[in-house]
Amino acid sequence: MSKQFRIKGTGRVDPSRPINFTFDGKSYTGHQGDTLASALLANGVHLVGRSFKYHRPRGILGIGADEPNALVGIRRDAARYTPNLLATQVELYEGLNAVSQNRNPSLEHDRMEVNDKWLSRFIPAGFYYKTFMWPKSAWDKWYEPRIREAAGLGVAPSQPDPDVYTQRYAHCDVLVIGAGPAGLAAAKEAAATGARVILADDRPVMGGSLLAAADTNISGEGEDWYSAGAWRKEVLAFLEKQPNVTLLPRTIAFGYYPHNWIGLCEKLTDHLAVLARGAPRERLWQVRAAQVVIATGAIERPLVFPENDRPGIMLADAARTYLQEYGVAVGQKVAVVTAHDSGYRAAHELKAVGVDIAVIADIRGRSVVSDRAVQAGLNVLTEAKIEGTSGKLRVSSITMTAAGMRSNFACDAVLMAGGFTPSVHLFSQSRGKLVWDNKLQAYLPGDSAEAERSAGASRGRFALAEALADGVDAGREAAQAAGFTPGTPAFHPQVTVKHAIGSGGYLGAAPTSADLSKAKAFVDWQNDVTAKDIVLATREGFLSIEHVKRYTTTGMATDQGKLSNINALGIVSEATGRSIPQIGLTTFRTPYTPITFGTLAGHARGMLFDPARVTAINDWAVAQGAAFEDVGNWKRAHYFPKHGEDLHAAVNRECLGVRKSVGIFDASTLGKIEIVGPDAAEFMNRFFVNAWTKLGVGKCRYGVLLREDGFVTDDGVVGRVAKDRFHVTTTTGGAARVLGMMEDYLQTEWGDLKVWLTSTTEQWSVIAVQGPKAREVIAPLIEDLDVSAEAFPHMSIGDGKICGVPLRLMRVSFTGELGFEVNVPSGYGRMVWEAIWERGKAFDMVPYGTETMHVLRAEKGYIIVGQETDGTVTPDDAGLGWAIGKAKPDFVGKRSLQRPALTAPDRKQLVGLISSDGRTVLEEGAQIVDPAAPKVPIGHVTSSYYSAVLGKPIALALVRGGRQRLGESLYVPMPDSVIGVQVAPTVFFDPEGARVNV
């Protein structure tokens, strides 16, 4: 590259620290402090992308978060590929590897260019709604895949992201967003009051527009004056020293959520050449601020004119900023198209470093500013019309008409200055009302909805002195509103500046004599939306700006309309003859700029994605090689395979082991609630379907709980441990729900009851010892409790000691065998488990998991809530009608049981099923039909297992009118066969219940 675009001695980049990088495989050099965009421009590279739809060549348009064209993929390594990053925001580091997107095979030659050349005329906004409908099947098979192939921008990463992301909550009195002059002034004033201040700015260096402020001086608090740069340094030095201030550079405020909850994303490593191992890539901050100052500045407005999209055509103040911040001249011969005084400022400053200004075309009339430019020797046209540009991969000339003269200016860059649009995104996200300002031709923040205020350019205070003063006020007011007392104001900002930002602006399609129904005058660069598309939308009856957005996709690109929205409004306004406030605005949504999924997910990954709850005995089961299943958040041992057994072999062995001798099972996950107080029994009466008054101390009862709508929601054994104390158990998944429901009734309905509830789920490890030998196994370990059959019959509960530690023993059985549930404080759970295990060895005791537990209980016809029931099942449906305390006037859900549907005669009822062939294990969830009407399902299989002890399959099912059908033959239709089944009682094993009472 022979041409030199880097201007020595300008900007904050460090020429002594060269950085090598590649773009599309080609090597370049930039400086420390460059962005990818500034470095490319310094190398004379403008062509960086292709547009979404027409695949037109595109260059760098802006300098910040609003960039629609310069989207690149950055590849650090195979797994660290990030698409769609803005070259204007990518900080250069040694070895950076950037690739362009949406082109094939290369940026210079793109096959899809045909879209632009030959097809564009036939594919206006919304064309796809009008075609591709015939033949019908072709959409899925032919058209859609091709549309998809053409669409999209970058390529999604294909390997799991090895980077980590971190997160932090924070609180402050004043959060200042944006560290330009307004934000810095606000932060300083607020900090001086002692308020806790967080100052966040998305750029690596704080200062905002001050970083590009040339020939500008600012008054200090005393007599001294500072250059803009020195003032910035001074303020930052002050802020850095304050213990109550947190400075967050590289931190974007992306979302303003209700109640002053702000989301920030801090970039930690993307700018580094070498990543420290495990160092987080980004941090999500969630800030709760008493007061917020929004000082996010303004977004420069492009001009809409024919072919305004060629590489080399860019925003004027952006070009000026490339010069002042990075020492980069964006061209050697530059044309300026302007509707705002800032265009002149750009021209003056570029000229000052030797750039040739081909022309300044002002679409406005003559003014002081234009006269001054003429005096300075610049070629100025006023009341200019912009007719078009030329140049294939880079703009080479621009055509305009002024004073009736059409002229063509050769150039290698065109700068557009359409004015500035206050960045009101965050204000609007906070649901503050925007107000149209006719003078500024912009929406400005009106009434606040949250504890927040805007300052500086973000509310139209564009001139530096105004922005500073506004920042001062905002900082002081915010601190005061947060309860701090500002001192006497000391800083009364005054500013001297060589070229002021000035005023002006334009919105809509700029004046032209070109036929805008033919020309491509871009409004939304990335999505290829032109002025004619927007007019077409209004012609087709899309009058709401929301419809225009959705029909044309203007404003829906990755910049979310930062550049396009306001011009689209102008065009709609003109096309429909309505004023802009009548048209309104589309909704500003979070995030302000795209935010990495990983950042939002934070630490929640892998095993920390969701708590994996484990019992005190878990590690023992792991050591035994148990297979686990997830039940809610719990990890439960599913089965204990031995020597390569599969599930079925293990379960058959475990089942037989329990029935023959004894088994041990970790039941700790069952929910437990201790209910204490003089009204405990009354509470139980009101809450559960059962009657509790007569339950003696030391006795247990099976309890059933309904929702108020009458359907079963939970069950469990309840023990009365004292007159005023119940030990309630719930299902594993239901524990929190049941306790919540109990508290709800207790606190809000039954304030008359003196009862308190405490979750004891995790206080106790529960070791179920089940089987004919159960008593023999545990009895010798127990002290202070007589567990003999006579003293401690089935459904007893009592306290004592086991292995020397406290014991709450329940004699209950979910297997149909003699059974005990050994409750011990969970810190002793593993110790007691191992002690029982040791003793059990003499009895061939088997450890068993949830699957065996399910089989054993199904053999006995015991239900599992959530498997036999599904939220549509009444106690009677589930065969639990007997549990209802008939004499009770009321309990939760009782009234609902009287409703017609719940008393209907043909409800589904729980029954047993036996496969007619005696062999086939039915599939859980399989449907059941009556042979007389084989297309009408009358029920489904809820549980189905092979029963080793019975030597045949068994199943439970809910079947319409099931209890009337005992002995009937029904069908279970499967995809490839029909299985005959017979309706049977639900209890398959030991129907007399002799085995539990030994």
Binding site: T166, W634, G827, R830
Partner: protein, 192 residues
């Protein structure tokens, strides 16, 4: 407030725990250390009995929200308007039962939860930042002074936070969530 002594500080109580009580935690670092075993009970008292119960317990149950009080080896943490978590560094198995005896026939509910939860001690000048990785509360000393306590969420787990010093916290967590909370804190610690 300033002369308040708390039972918890990590160092002093590591030995106090009973050796037989298993801990679910996996390790300790300079900043994050599992604390030994404590006696714990949930105490529920209606408004009218707070004074009487305080007297029998020998510790004044704080009425101010989210404050704790300590007398000798017994601390009472306000968790709700009628709910206190009692924590004792003398964790024999019949501690709760003896407490029940002290309370006698007063109309209260006392439930032993000594084993329901386990405790981590955090100590570091950056302890607030460490906790801010998962806790959304404002834990600066001005807002959450020494002795303050509360139930809250640490990411997806419920915990009780108890500030035991300018730079130290005692965290109570249900046993089954212990490894989750420990895992998150260790990540935050590594990230600094």
């Amino acid at each position: 407030m300033s002369d308040l002594t708390l039972v918890s500080p990590a160092a002093s109580h590591k030995e106090a725990g009973s050796a037989a009580v298993a801990s679910p935690f996996t390790g300790h670092s300079k900043v994050i250390a599992p604390l030994g075993h404590f006696g714990r009970a949930v105490l529920r008292v209606s408004e009218d009995l707070i004074d009487a119960v305080s007297e029998r317990l020998g510790v004044t149950l704080p009425r101010e929200a989210n404050r704790s009080a300590t007398q000798d080896d017994l601390s009472a943490l306000w968790l709700g308007p009628d709910e206190w978590l009692l924590i004792s560094s003398e964790p024999h198995d019949s501690w709760a039962a003896s407490l029940q005896q002290k309370l006698g026939d007063a109309l209260v509910a006392l439930v032993d939860v000594s084993h329901r939860q386990v405790a981590l001690g955090l100590e570091s000048p950056h302890v607030e930042d460490l906790l801010a990785s998962g806790c959304a509360l404002d834990l600066r000393e001005a807002a959450f002074p020494v002795g303050a306590c509360t139930r809250t969420m640490f990411d997806k787990a419920e915990v009780v936070l108890w500030r035991t010093g300018a730079h130290s916290f005692h965290i109570e967590v249900w046993r089954s969530f212990a490894r989750y909370v420990e895992g998150l804190l260790r990540i935050a610690e590594e990230e600094g």
